[in-house]
Symmetry: C2
Amino acid sequence: MRYAVIGTGAIGGYYGAKLVQSGQEVHFLLHSDYHHVMEHGLQVNSCDGSFHLDKPLVYASTADMPQCDVVLVGLKSVNNHLLPTLLPPLLKKDTLVILIQNGLGLEDDLQQQMPDLRLAAGLAFICSAKTQPGTVDHQCYGYINIGNYSCPDQHIVDQVVTHFNAAGIDAHSVEYHEARWKKAVWNMPFNGMTVALNTQTDLLLANPATRQLIYSQMLEVIHAAQACRVENIDESFADKMIYNTEHMTPYSPSMKLDYEHHRPMEIDYLYTRPLLMARQAGCPMPKLEMLEAELRFLEK
Amino acid sequence: MRYAVIGTGAIGGYYGAKLVQSGQEVHFLLHSDYHHVMEHGLQVNSCDGSFHLDKPLVYASTADMPQCDVVLVGLKSVNNHLLPTLLPPLLKKDTLVILIQNGLGLEDDLQQQMPDLRLAAGLAFICSAKTQPGTVDHQCYGYINIGNYSCPDQHIVDQVVTHFNAAGIDAHSVEYHEARWKKAVWNMPFNGMTVALNTQTDLLLANPATRQLIYSQMLEVIHAAQACRVENIDESFADKMIYNTEHMTPYSPSMKLDYEHHRPMEIDYLYTRPLLMARQAGCPMPKLEMLEAELRFLEK
């Protein structure tokens, strides 16, 4: 099976490099780092053992890339409008495209633009960052859940899960809607609140007022998920997320890093879209609506 | 009639000095500025005409002050626990105490501690600040509404209103509950949001997302007021407040100034108490609950 990685950054770069290391054929699309990685290869500094790819298969344009069986999309979702242009050269009839991105509604939107595409969601639980050209720093965690959105052949999805596990990545096949909403339970409170209050996960939980706020925001997402008929998430999931986060290394989520580095924040798919889905299901999320407004103010 | 001013700052200093200028006898309690004002008097720089009081009647302790007919309290509400100690030397049987402070529940709390006290609320619509020792800068506005809380003799309240007007201050007698809640409609969104987003009133209204947020926070207060049986406030009041604020000078509310100067913020009476009243009336204010939590985080 032949893999492509679109967006060779903290996420795409890490998972792609791990697959190469385990013997898979992976073709990497790069943008700003293309010349650097051509010359110097790809470096992964990882808590699980660092390694270097001397001669990864790198490209500056998908037009130069071969057709692939699986495309891993690690772009920021603010660039998803580029996918209908970027993807076609890579596609065979049965190519599986996995959006390893945060948010809700990503697959819906892309499917509408490309109705024949076979889509899955990748939910990455990982602390990693691209710290300099051609270098991914992987601090901790790394497991990935893959939820089939529109691939009629679940076998291909399972095959990818097998490849990830063979590459030393803990991967599981999960139910798509439940997986995306569950990730939102963590993402929606923590990504925005660390930006709004210029802080990290640990301090938000150490203060009783913001701890309670984070918890109530999690309940908003859980109730909205239930209203959207995703019923396998109950309130105890919020307790679990609080507990897990408390036992994590103090953490700046991706939106906080984007804000600090003056990159666009993924407000659309992380907030605007889920808020719309919740309202349409008759279950608005007022505190997260407020957070969205604060982020819209701060992004200016 | 003899007046006392407790808390000779931006509010107490301004109104007290205006009363002196119009011929009233006013006794001022000062704290940090006592020696300065003893020596140099009290300066009011005002958009309506600046003036100086050469020899105001100033005191460092209420124990040295005479009994008065009216006490104007201009303290920050974070210091209200001092009132049961500060007030008694000033009190005759029928002394009227006017709390010129922001928030809800102020009179309830003080009345519980001093059941015989005759209380009223002063709602000041004024942009003023104490910029240096003994100096009040009055930038604009200045009108005050006085709402009788527990004074059996409305005549005294009306007398005070007459004195304020004679001093060139636009003053009105108003219904207590309606007046406090109406002020909260403006105060709760703008005081906290200017702190949370480190901004001023004009920029909050210029951004469509925060403008909508401010509006929805105002509706939360209006609905809570209605649930608390204060029924003379309808949704159009929010439109009016937005319109008025848009036509005001860009403004940093008092909580923003407190935060900038590392003084304690009046979160208890501006947020915690009204939020409790709203919840008890079955009409929680989720966006303002979130704002309270953000302020609790920021005050650390």
